[in-house]
Symmetry: C2
Subunit: 423 residues, 2 copies
C-alpha cells in the first residue's frame, strides 16, 4: 500500500469507529456480556489457529533478533490462551460502568441535574510486542461502551490479525456493530501518523510501550493522549520506621517482581534511621540486588563489606526494571519529599513510619499518583485496588491518574430534566 | 527580546511555577482565602491605576482597528472593577476542593484506600481580549491549589500587566509563593510556542479564545489541552412537545443572550409537530431572528408570509452567536439525534417533549456535554449548575466535560494506609 492508500484506510477505519461508537453508547449490558462470553469460547476453540499464527511471528522474531524476554512475551501456549479467555469472562462479570449516576447536583433553579457516566467514544490504543494486549484492550473498551482502534507492533502482527478476526466473529455473532473493534491491518509507520491526526473521529489515544513510542505519540498527536510512562518508585524509611516492617516492605517492593512499573527503584533513608541501613542493605544483597549508594550511604555501609557501586544523580531518576536499587540518605523528611518530587515519574511512592504526622506530610506533599503509608508499592495496580481490571497505569494527571479501570475509560454527561425552566 | 531571551524567560517562568505548585498543593484554605480577600481590596483600591493602564490599551485599540464589541469587552469602568472584586470575594467564599475524599475503595487486601482530590499542578491559560480573564483564571487556579501561567492577548497588555502586579502584591502580602501566579510579560508569538513545549513543568493548557487560537494550541502543544470550542446547540421540538413550553424554551435558548456559547443555533422539529412551526417561527421573527429553513420547513412556512432564507448544510453546523437560526424538519426522533450528532459541537442540546421514552432516547443517544429535557440551553453554565464559578465550558471529553468549576481544576491521588502489607 502507498501512503495515499494507507491514509484512506486509516481515515475510513476512524470514521466507521465513530459511527459504531454512537450505537455502542446505548448498548445494553446483556449484549455486551454475551459478546464477551462468546469471545472467550471462540478464543479457546481457536487455539490451533492462534498458535499457527503465533508460530509465524516467532519465526519472524528470529530474523528481527528479538531479545529472549521479548520473544517470551510474544509466545502463546494453550495455557496462556485459556488464561486470556478466563480474563475475558472476568470482565463480563464486572459491573457495567455506563449509565451510572456519579453525582446529583443542586442547581439554584432547582431542575433535576445529574452527572451520568458515559463512554468516551472512540479510543485508539497503540502498543508493542505482547499480542494478548489486543484482547485486553478490546474487551475493556467494549465493556465500557467505547469503540476501539488497535494498532499493534510488527512483532505480533500475525497473532494480532488472527485475534482481530476472532473478535469480529464474536461481534457478528452477537449482533454488535462490527466496526466496534478494529485492528489496523498494516504496521507501516505512516498509519500511525495518520491515526494521530483523526481528532474529528477519535477521542483518546492510549500508548502502551516503550518511551520512544510514547514520545512519538505525544509529539505528533492532535488527539488527547493518556500516557503510561515509566515507574520510578521510591521507598522512604522514616526516622520512626519499624525495622521489621521496613525490611518486609522494601524487599517486597523491590524484589517480588522487579520488571514491573510498580517495583521500587530507590531507597531513601532518614539519617535518624541510618542504624537500619546495614540490615536493609544486607537483605537487598541477599536477594541479589545491586546497591548503588550516595556518599553518605557508602560511608554507613563500608563496614558491612557488602559490594557497593557509587550512585550518580541520574540513578535516582532511572527505572531499572532489574535487580538494582539506588540508596540515598536524607537529613529530614522534607529532603526526602524534595528528592522524590525531583526524580519520581509520579507513579507510586511509599513511606514506612509509625509517626502519623510524618505520614500525613509525606502523603500530602509527595506528588505521585499513588502514595502508600506502610504497604508495598507492588499494590499500585488495578486488580489490587479492586478496580477489577486495568488497561494500564496513567502517569498523567488529567482524566485518569494511576491504575485505569472501566470507570476511567468513561467520561460523563450532564443530564437535566426540567419543567419548562427559562432564564 | 530575541527568541533566545524569550525561550529563557518562558522556561524560567514554567520552572518557578512548578516549584511554587508543590508548595501550593499543601497550602491551607485560610491563607488562600486571605489572599483572595486582599486581592479584592487591592483591585478596588487600584481603580485609578487599572483605568490608566486600560486607557493605554483603548488608545492602542484604535490603531489595531478593533471592532466595537471587542473594544467594549476590553473596557474597564469603576463599576466593572468593583464587580470583578466582588467575584473574587465570591470565590473566597466557595468551599476548598483540595483534600476532599472523592471515593473510598475496597481493595481485596483490605488496606485503607482513598481517592483524594488534589491540584493538577501548573496550569497555563492562553486567552484573548477581555482583561478580567486574568483575574478570573488566577483566582480559580489559586483557590484550587494550582500555580498558573497567564498569557493574555496584545489588545489588553497594559491592563493585564497592571492586574498581574496587583496579584503579586496580594501574594506577597499573604506570604504565598510569589511565583504561584505569573503573567508572561511579552505578547511575542514565540513565547506561546515555547510555553506549549514545557511538558516537564506545565500539566495542563486551557485556551480561551477564537478557533484559530485553539487550533494553534492543539497543533503545537505537547501538554494536555482542555479545549473550549464553539457551541453549536440545538433545540429539538418532539412530536409530543407542549406548544407553550416549546415556544418559551426556544425563545429563551435563542434570544436571551445570542452571543454566548450556550445559545441555540438550530431548531429541529419532528414532522408530527409541524403544526407548531408557524407559531415558533413567528415568535422568533418577532424577536428579530433571521430564519434559515430547509426545504421541508420552507414549504410549511411559505403561507406564513415570514421572510425566509434557504439553509445550507453548513448552516446546521454554524455557531452564529447572532440573531440567526437554522430550522429543519425531521421524520422521527432518530433522524433528529443523527442530525445533532453530525453537526453539534458537543456542547449543549435540548429536547422539548411530554413523552418520557422519547426524552430517555434523546438524552442517552445525543452525544453532548449537557443534554436538557424541557429546560433552556441557557442553563448550561457553571453558576446555573451550582458549581459556584467556572473557568470555561469544555467541549472535550477527557478530564472535564461541560462547565468546569473548582473541582474540575483538580485531579486526584490514591492515598493508602497499610499495616505492613506485602504481596
Amino acid at each position: 500500500m502507498d501512503t495515499d492508500q494507507i491514509t484512506q484506510l486509516v481515515v475510513d477505519i476512524a470514521k466507521r469507529a465513530r459511527a459504531a461508537s454512537l450505537e455502542l453508547a446505548a448498548l445494553d449490558t446483556k449484549t455486551k456480556n454475551q459478546f464477551l462470553n462468546q469471545l472467550a469460547d471462540k478464543l479457546v476453540a481457536s487455539t490451533d489457529a492462534i498458535l499457527a499464527a503465533n508460530a509465524l511471528d516467532l519465526e519472524a522474531a528470529k530474523a528481527l533478533e528479538l531479545s529472549g524476554p521479548m520473544t517470551e512475551r510474544l509466545t502463546f501456549t494453550p495455557e496462556r490462551i485459556a488464561t486470556m479467555a478466563e480474563g475475558v469472562r472476568q470482565v463480563a462479570a464486572l459491573p457495567d460502568p455506563v449509565g451510572v449516576e456519579i453525582e446529583r447536583l443542586a442547581p439554584p433553579k432547582g431542575f433535576d441535574l445529574r452527572k451520568i457516566r458515559v463512554p468516551i467514544g472512540v479510543i485508539g490504543i497503540i502498543y508493542e510486542s505482547r499480542p494478548n494486549v489486543t484482547i485486553d484492550c478490546a474487551i475493556l473498551c467494549l465493556k465500557s461502551g467505547n469503540a476501539s482502534i488497535l494498532r499493534g507492533g510488527k512483532e505480533a502482527f500475525h497473532s494480532n490479525m488472527t485475534l482481530a478476526e476472532i473478535i469480529k466473529e464474536a461481534l457478528q455473532a452477537t449482533g454488535i456493530h462490527e466496526d466496534a473493534v478494529q485492528f489496523i491491518p498494516t504496521t507501516d509507520r505512516w498509519a500511525l501518523n495518520v491515526l494521530l491526526k483523526q481528532d474529528d473521529t477519535i477521542h483518546c489515544i492510549i500508548p502502551r510501550g516503550g518511551e520512544s513510542l510514547i514520545r512519538f505519540t505525544v509529539e505528533n498527536s492532535r488527539i488527547p493522549v493518556i500516557k503510561h510512562y515509566t515507574g520510578v518508585c521510591s521507598v522512604y524509611i522514616d526516622a520512626a520506621a519499624d525495622p521489621d516492617m521496613a525490611e518486609a516492605i522494601l524487599i517486597n517492593s523491590k524484589c517480588q517482581r522487579p520488571s514491573v512499573c510498580n517495583a521500587a527503584e530507590n531507597l531513601i533513608v532518614h539519617q535518624d534511621a541510618a542504624a537500619q541501613l546495614p540490615r536493609l542493605a544486607k537483605a537487598l544483597h541477599d536477594h541479589g540486588v545491586e546497591l548503588r549508594v550516595d556518599a553518605h550511604a557508602k560511608a554507613l555501609l563500608t563496614a558491612s563489606g557488602l559490594p557497593l557501586v557509587d550512585a550518580t544523580a541520574e540513578d535516582f531518576a532511572t527505572e531499572y526494571t532489574d535487580m538494582i536499587i539506588a540508596i540515598g540518605i536524607v537529613p529530614d523528611i522534607k529532603a526526602a519529599i524534595e528528592l522524590i518530587n525531583a526524580n519520581s515519574s509520579g507513579h507510586t511512592e511509599c513511606i514506612v513510619t509509625e509517626d502519623a504526622a510524618a505520614a500525613r506530610q509525606f502523603l500530602t506533599s509527595v506528588d505521585s499518583a499513588a502514595v502508600f503509608h506502610n504497604a508495598s508499592t507492588r499494590f499500585s495496580d488495578g486488580f489490587e485496588f479492586g478496580l477489577g481490571a486495568e488497561i494500564g497505569i496513567s502517569t498523567d494527571r488529567l482524566h485518569a491518574r494511576g491504575p485505569m479501570g472501566l470507570n476511567e475509560l468513561c467520561t460523563y454527561k450532564y443530564v437535566i430534566h426540567g419543567t419548562g425552566e427559562t432564564r
